[in-house]
């Protein structure tokens, strides 16, 4: 009997091609829109969290000053003595890295490029999650002596050297010549959208003496040891700095300790909200698609009621008629859902390429949108039919 009912359902789908097509279309639009939007949103979130991971994890960053904007006093920078004190007194710190920043124009033969200069120790590469692609980092002797050596980022390498080898060459920065000893593996854009690879890294002393002309340190990065709690180290760090900078009780800090985990949470939180927003917009298309299906189904009730009357009059049982309508609705909705998923997959892959975000298949959203659209198709295909199938055949036949 199931086989025969299946046959009847298929014949009904075939003889109402336009209605079948529109029903499928409604499901396709809803399913494809939701899946595409959410998949791209997920890709964007992943891309942001990847960028955050490229910053290095479990880090505390100490900067002078409490807040920006008017009324903010210029807070003093740190000294190497601070770095030494942190190294010795802060337990739970795996590495303490001083950083001084400057900007300068780098020149190689006829090429020049304005870039940012970072003066730091060799620990910086590990702490900031840099990989040296070719060449080497700084030796202790180079750091102590403030030698003119540098490790360059991928962007700078491209701008100055093109396809030529960079390691071993000499570039000129401001007034001094500097030997390129290493080259960093590319990281790409930061979560804030700046180019992380436009960088040249030198020993701290080199930058302090030859570029900045001070003994200041702008930023101290502390990598938290794997076994230590970030929050505890941060609290300890803050009280140590208050003590060293002689901040009295009740006075505000004149420095800030930022936690990369916090930054990461803020940024992923933002993209997650964006994804939800996109999902909400897509849910509207799902709803509109659903209303389309509903419309088609309800408009065809009159014709279908007469059809049901005919079927009942020639001896169909109520449940046979209902099963046929159910199969019809399930077949159309499933077909629409399958096409929608296929379309969404193709569109997401193409758009992910264009938007430069990874394509991530999300089974939950595929299933959810499929089930929702299919349910609308089935409910609005089935319930009007159920009402008609409960009529006396003669009433169904007379239906206008």
């Amino acid at each position: 009997m199931l086989w025969n009912t299946l046959l009847l359902a298929m014949r009904a789908i075939r003889r109402n091609l336009l209605r079948s097509f529109l029903t499928i279309l409604g499901v396709v639009i809803g399913v494809a829109a939701v899946i595409t939007m959410v998949t791209l949103g997920n890709g964007a979130t992943r891309s942001v969290s990847d960028q955050i991971a490229s910053m290095g994890s479990s880090q505390l960053m100490l900067r002078p000053g409490q807040r920006f904007g008017p009324g903010a006093e210029a807070a003093p920078n740190f000294r190497l003595a601070d770095v030494e004190a942190i190294r010795h007194q802060l337990s739970g710190a795996a590495a303490v890295v001083p950083v001084v920043s400057a900007s300068a124009t780098a020149v190689y033969q006829a090429n020049n490029w304005s870039t940012s200069v970072t003066g730091t120790s060799n620990d910086y590469f590990a702490a900031a999650n840099w990989v040296i692609a070719t060449g080497r980092g700084f030796t202790e002797a180079e750091e102590r002596a403030g030698k003119a050596v540098c490790v360059i980022g991928n962007t700078l390498r491209d701008k100055l050297f093109g396809q030529q080898p960079a390691v071993g060459a000499e570039i000129r920065i401001k007034q001094f010549a500097c030997e390129v000893i290493g080259q960093l593996k590319a990281k790409g854009q930061s979560a804030m959208g700046s180019d992380q690879d436009d960088i040249v890294v030198m020993p701290l002393r080199t930058v302090q003496r030859r570029l900045a002309g001070t003994v200041d340190v702008n930023l101290i990065m502390v990598s938290v040891a794997a076994h230590a709690s970030i929050d505890e180290v941060k609290t300890q760090f803050e009280s140590l700095m208050r003590e060293r900078r002689k901040i009295g009780e009740g006075e505000d800090d004149n420095f800030r300790v930022m936690d990369t985990r916090q930054i990461a949470e803020t940024l992923t939180g933002t993209t997650r909200i964006l994804t939800m927003l996109l999902g909400a917009v897509a849910a509207v298309s799902l709803l509109v698609g659903g209303i389309g299906i509903m419309n088609i189904m309800l408009v065809s009730v009159t014709e279908r009621t007469r059809e049901i009357g005919i079927r009942l009059a020639i001896g169909a049982l109520e449940h046979e008629v209902l099963l046929q309508f159910l199969i019809e609705a399930v077949v159309l909705s499933s077909l629409g859902g399958a096409i929608g998923i296929a379309l969404a997959t193709a569109a997401s892959m193409a758009l992910a390429g264009v938007m430069n975000v990874p394509y991530l298949f999300d089974p939950a959203i595929n299933l959810l949108s499929f089930v929702f659209s299919a349910a609308i198709g089935v409910i609005f295909g089935y319930f009007p039919a159920r009402r008609a199938a409960r009529l006396d055949p003669i009433e169904a036949l007379r239906h206008e």
Partner: protein, 235 residues
């Protein structure tokens, strides 16, 4: 079945529509016995209840009171599904408005009752072709109702009604939408089915020309049987 037990027996059948002030009694107590192989024309003016009686006989509608025996079984006590099975196995219905499935070929329309019977595809095709052949539509199997004339559509409807080999063929004004020529052909066809295959035929009509084919004429007036007499069938 003994000659004493008729195929169909209606006893004191009434049918009331609406309620209260709007109540309308379409049938006010019908008694009728029909033997196997009869060809009966049911006549009467509009609103006399002849179509209502026909729908009750065809198990498409239920009586308000009274008893309806079909081969000794009390139909008024049967469930919806049991009455559907009665229609499926013993009754064929032809309507004034044809009631074919639109956008569906003649062959598929005729096959429909056999699908519900669960007949295998080969049997189904053969029977449907034979039925269409019998109503003179060989060669028109793959045309949809929209591509057929009124007379042809009614032939498809008759083929659909007889494809299962029913005991009774009920036709409610089968020629009501047809011209004289087509009407006569349809009546000839029905008369042949009655004569050659022994199908019991009941037709509702208000045209004396059509009623002339029957061997028994039952006349309805105001929801009652006003006269019931036998005649020489022209078919």
């Amino acid at each position: 079945m003994s000659a004493a037990t008729p195929l169909i027996r209606l006893t004191a059948i009434t049918k009331t529509y609406g309620r209260g002030q709007a109540e309308f009694q379409a049938l006010k107590g019908i008694d009728l016995a029909i033997a196997e192989g009869e060809f009966i024309a049911v006549m009467g003016p509009s609103g006399s209840g002849k179509s209502t009686a026909m729908n009750i006989l065809g198990c498409l509608d239920t009586p308000t009171s009274g008893s309806y025996e079909f081969q000794g079984v009390h139909v008024e006590h049967l469930s919806r599904d049991a009455r559907a099975l009665l229609r499926r196995h013993f009754l064929g219905f032809v309507f004034q408005g044809f009631n074919l499935l639109s956008r569906t070929t003649a062959l598929e329309n005729v096959e429909l009752p056999l699908i519900y019977r669960g007949a295998p595809a080969a049997t189904r095709h053969a029977a449907a072709h034979a039925a269409l052949d019998q109503v003179g539509l060989a060669g028109w199997e793959h045309h949809t109702p929209a591509e057929l004339s009124g007379g042809q559509q009614q032939r498809v409807a008759i083929a659909r009604a007889i494809v299962t080999g029913p005991k009774v063929l009920l036709a409610d004004e089968p020629t009501g939408n047809l011209d004289t020529h087509n009407s006569q052909e349809i009546m000839e066809l029905i008369a042949t089915l009655n004569r050659d295959r022994g199908i019991t035929v009941l037709i509702v009509t208000h045209e004396p020309d059509m009623a002339a084919y029957a061997r028994r004429v039952v006349r309805f007036v105001d929801g009652r049987v006003a006269s019931d007499h036998r005649q020489e069938g022209a078919g």
